[in-house]
């Protein structure tokens, strides 16, 4: 299967997980934010799916660019420009290489360039960074994702809405980390990570 098809498959998995777990993501966001992370991303992936149905893609760059642009326009929350920047960054990188770890490494750069978060600040970066590291070493699996996600629980948020809560943000899983866990699980399930 061509890389574009695998990526589209992966996005389908991601969409389904997000949509199925909309309430759960909202719940996570209610505890330390404004309770809309699931609704935001569900709106975003629905708009992406509409776009993908209308178009066919023969290269990753066009696919990623469309996904990214739809997400920044439709999501509404911080996760919009963040996931959007990840895809736009991957669109650029895919012109150089379609190596999975170099692509996702660029995606992570897009996120950190946009949101200026480092690891340990209780954001989606705390899933993306260890996942990209594992990809580089060829060791990404469910357990890597699970433990990265779990690690956000004890962190104190210093970026995004959760940062307003200071110490009270401790003890909760970060919603963006949860949706990012779904994102990497989808990559595994669609076989994007297979060589």
């Amino acid at each position: 299967m061509a890389q574009t098809e695998k990526w589209i498959k992966s996005f389908e998995h991601f969409s389904k997980k997000i949509t199925d777990e909309k309430s759960f993501l909202n719940e996570l966001d209610s505890a330390i934010g404004d309770g809309d992370h699931g609704s935001n991303l569900t709106r975003g992936v629905a708009a992406v799916n509409e776009k993908l149905e209308q178009q066919s893609y023969d290269n990753l760059s066009d696919l990623f660019k469309d996904i990214g642009m739809v997400l920044v326009s439709k999501v509404g929350g911080a996760s919009g420009p963040l996931y959007g920047s990840a895809f736009i960054s991957m669109a650029k990188q895919s012109k150089e290489s379609d190596d999975i770890s170099s692509l996702l490494s660029s995606g992570l750069d897009g996120i950190t360039k946009r949101g200026k978060a480092e690891t340990g600040e209780k954001t989606m970066v705390d899933v993306w960074a260890p996942a990209v590291d594992a990809l580089k070493e060829g060791t990404l699996d469910q357990s890597v994702i699970d433990s990265a996600l779990e690690s956000t629980k004890d962190m104190k948020a210093t970026k995004g809405r959760a940062s307003y809560l200071g110490d009270r943000s401790i003890g909760h899983i970060d919603p963006g980390a949860q949706s990012s866990a779904y994102f990497f699980e989808s990559l595994l399930e669609a076989g994007v990570t297979d060589e």
């Binding site: 920044v72 420009p81 946009r114």
Partner: protein
């Protein structure tokens, strides 16, 4: 001298409209563009309405203000894709944009406006 305008991005429709009214009282001649919410009902911000507001301004040079961090991210993306000069200020959205507008109306230049804004700098 190049005309300088103002753009304000808030998560809420009413906040943006309200700041617009507050500012126009003291800065009738300043081009003030506002974006509030994903739309009239939905709280949030989006890249394309922000870019549209920047392009909609009659000014080529803009001072930008926002309420919460994700509005800043959308502003930054929009700025990167626009060919106008837009500077984003990390100051209180109501008080900062009011100050900048009053000073622009009085003919104060950007450098001096920034000095005054500097005093209200905030980690947002």
């Amino acid at each position: 001298m190049e005309k300088t305008g103002i753009i304000i991005v808030s998560h809420v429709y009413e906040i943006a409209e309200g700041i617009h009214r507050l500012i126009k009282e003291v800065a009738a001649d300043v081009d003030v563009q506002v974006v509030g919410g994903v739309d009239i009902k939905e709280i949030g911000t989006s890249f394309d309405t922000t870019l549209a507001a920047i392009n909609n301004s009659s000014a080529k040079n803009l001072l930008a203000f926002y309420d919460l961090g994700s509005a800043k991210m959308n502003l930054e993306m929009a700025v990167e894709m626009s060919d106008k000069t837009v500077k984003i200020y990390d100051v209180p959205v109501v008080e900062g944009s009011y100050t900048a507008a009053a000073l622009l109306q009085a003919g104060v230049n950007q450098e001096n406006i920034e000095e005054q804004l500097e005093e209200m700098h905030n980690v947002k």
